[in-house]
């Protein structure tokens, strides 16, 4: 590794109305270094890299690239200076093929046929094989990420920015990605790696800059720190793991038998013959890489997609052909992954959003007429019990921060005294303190006798709260295993291993 400076960020500040995203941030990356930006959700990592990539302009501060002043006005300029970025989401076009997607990210792409050839060679050189003619919409999450990486690599970047790249990968796929990144680094490409996964960073990165609430709180070499030390630097407080009492599993509360559902989304994953059985007091964790049928499973359980009557049974009664409100009456509540737009209507107040799913079980509607006073007090109760920070229940849902809205959504469901709870990604994009309180609330409901299904892509979360564990892969659900005694390798295999990717590195 060379010791010359590639990028220097000096005193960058960026403020949005009501929030300072970055305040006087400085750090340096050497050529070929794998450098990590570490911080909780909302710590300002994304804003910072968007400035380096030219998507956002800083209010003040300077950047230098190889000693020269660097002020990209747009991504085009950043790319031509040798800075490339792999996004967490929002940057691929599903209806276009791989080659077209790659061409869109390049300044002067060669003709389609030549480009397809280069995609083939480069992708195999780096152990990430790709077919340039396939539609991106038909690819798995891991393959989509490869498209983004290849798109960057074709431009010979000096600095590759990766925003939370492993959140969509199985453990085996992460291994492959890391091999690729190390290969790149040894060839002299610096990598700016954004994550909040500590073990990964200790494994991969040469240096780390830790951000908290927009400020740099530490710069360190991650290998010299323990994961716990890094976590405390990142969060700024000591976290207590969730407490749970003894378990006595009760009767079967949710029984899913041979559930098959076609995805409502043209590029979605259909469920195939899913079986699961959850007892009162039990938490079943369902892992899986994004896009393997998690959304469809939630929709089929919540009642948004009807199925055969006996494919879904609540307390022994078939409800598969009934809609969400009938299932709520039967005791099942659900919290979808997407907070704004699915679990909550963005422009509606918290009171209205409380009515959204609470109408049936809380008796907020009589003869079609809405009891607004009760709806308001229900919303106020949720805000109080779940420590939702908001000026009041008249505030629009989209005005709340991600963590607060998530607490509201989960709180709204848990406050309805349910017997079955289904949640998808309950702590996605939520800060550590809020995530801890949401997990605790789920454990408490289970202790009170509810059957809980937690669908999540965060393995640590599942291992922390679930009793039994299974994984979704290509719309199929694996058989459940007790969490006690599971190894990461076993989990990875349940999640589909490397989705046929191992081969590449074997002979690379």
């Amino acid at each position: 590794m060379k010791d010359t400076e590639l990028l220097a960020v000096e005193g960058i500040t960026k403020a949005y109305p009501g929030v300072v995203a970055n305040s006087d941030v400085s750090f340096r990356i050497r050529e070929g270094e794998v450098h990590s930006l570490l911080g909780e959700n909302g710590a300002g990592k994304s804003t910072l890299v968007k400035m380096i990539y030219g998507l956002v302009k800083p209010d003040s501060g300077r950047m230098r690239l190889r000693g020269a002043a660097y002020e990209p006005k747009e991504p085009r300029e950043a790319r031509s200076s040798g800075v490339a970025m792999v996004f967490q989401h929002f940057s691929l076009f599903e209806a276009l093929n791989v080659a077209e997607n790659v061409a869109l990210g390049m300044e002067n792409p060669p003709a389609q046929r030549a480009l397809a050839e280069r995609i083939r060679t480069v992708s195999e050189d780096y152990g990430l094989p790709l077919d340039p003619n396939r539609l991106v919409g038909d690819l798995s999450a891991g393959e989509r990420q490869r498209v983004e990486i290849i798109r960057c690599l074709l431009q010979d970047p000096k600095l590759l920015i990766m925003d939370e790249p492993t959140s969509v990968l199985t453990p085996q796929e992460v291994e492959i990605l890391f091999k690729t990144l190390r290969q790149l680094s040894s060839e002299g490409t610096a990598i700016l790696y954004i994550s909040h996964k500590l073990e990964e960073i200790r494994d991969l990165c040469d240096g780390a800059t830790i951000l908290r609430r927009g400020k740099v709180v530490a710069t360190c070499t991650p290998r010299e720190k323990t994961a716990r030390e890094l976590a405390e630097l990142m969060v700024g407080e000591t976290l207590t793991p969730p407490a749970r009492g003894e378990k006595v599993p009760g009767d079967v509360a949710l029984d899913v038998v041979g559930l098959s559902v076609a995805s409502p989304n043209p590029f979605g994953t259909s469920l195939q013959n899913v079986h699961m059985r959850v007892r009162k007091g039990e938490i079943l964790g369902i892992a899986g890489v994004a896009g393997n049928g998690q959304d469809e499973l939630l929709l089929a359980l919540s009642g948004e997609i009807p199925t055969d009557r006996d494919a879904v049974k609540i307390a022994g009664r078939g409800v598969g052909d009934q809609g969400p409100n009938a299932r709520r009456l039967a005791g099942l509540v659900a919290a979808p992954e997407e907070r704004l737009g699915h679990a909550a209507a963005p422009d509606m107040s918290l009171t209205e959003n409380a009515l959204l799913s609470g109408a049936v079980r809380k008796g907020l509607v009589r003869h079609g007429m809405i009891d607004w006073a009760s709806a308001r007090s229900f919303a106020e109760g949720v805000v109080k019990d779940f420590d939702v920070r908001t000026p009041g229940v008249g505030t629009a849902a989209r005005a709340l921060s991600g963590g607060n809205l998530q607490k509201f959504v989960i709180g709204r469901e848990l406050s309805q005294d349910p017997t079955v709870i289904v949640v998808n990604q309950p702590t996605w994009g939520v800060d550590a303190a809020a995530a801890a309180s949401i997990r605790q609330a789920l454990i408490d409901r289970a202790a009170a006798g509810a059957a809980v299904v937690v669908i999540s892509q965060d393995l640590d979360e599942l291992l922390e709260i679930a009793d039994n564990f299974c994984a979704l892969n290509g719309g199929r659900l694996s058989a459940p295993r007790p969490v006690q005694g599971l190894t990461v390798d076993e989990i990875g295999l349940m999640m589909g291993g490397a989705h046929g990717m191992e081969v590449a590195h074997a002979h690379a």
């Binding site: 956002v56 940057s91 599903e94 276009l96 077209e100 409502p264 043209p266």
Partner: protein, 309 residues
Amino acid sequence: MIAGIDPVVLIASLMAASTPILLAALGELVAERSGVLNLGVEGMMITGAICGFIVAVHTGSPFLGFVAAAAGGAALALLFAFLTQVLLSNQVATGLAATLFGLGLSSLMGQGYSGIKPPPTANVPFGPLAHLPVLGPILFSHDWVLYFSLALVVGTWAFLKYTRAGLVLRAVGENHDAAHALGYRVRLIRTLALAHGGACAGLGGAYLSLVRVPQWTEGITAGAGWIALAIVVFASWRPGRVLLGAYIFGGVSVLQLRLQAAGIAIPVQILSMAPYLITILVLVVMSARRGRAAIGAPAALGRVFHASD
């Protein structure tokens, strides 16, 4: 076939009858591929019809008339673009407003122009080719605008399929957030696509007032703009199928006119509603065949883009 209707004449005249819708639909196709649903096509067509008519009458040049028609249609489209792209208004409502405004404005501008004959638009001289049996009337006896519309079909297809600008336009229509993240100017691209669509609609309108009818009457477009919109759906957003759709529609309208002329014992009004009923039927068949989601529709169609940094 019903006696008295010559298939060659029928084909030649359906090509002319289809041209206004073909032009408008091609323009709308490009706008929709960029992700904007422009329901103002009807208004832009009729604005083009009157602008083209006025300029052609005063200058004596149908060519200048068509240029003015394109400019008029594009001007209204830019107004629509300003509202939907800059002020982020609802595309459906704004499109309706553009149509209502275009209809009002055109009849206002057209005061005193009814009953006037515009300068004729001559056929392209193909010499003896025009006298060939069958092929002559079908291929070699039309005015330049009709040939232009056919060239535009090919041009639009090639643009979308083979050029980088076409790829960027499709990308913007597919996922504007991703396009923005890659540094493409979503609003600029959409504004240009809209202006192009408005210009095409204007040309289509002028083809009605300068060639088809040819004179100015209020409400001359009689829903042609809406039919153009339907044809874009029918065509699954593909230029070649737009041609097919427009010619089917043109065929039905010409046929019903011939049947009326032939004195068939069906009330005139029932024949006149045939084109609209056929359009509905075609829409139903297309949407049913594709099943639920309209595959082929640009994913970002009709959605408001607001870059929140």
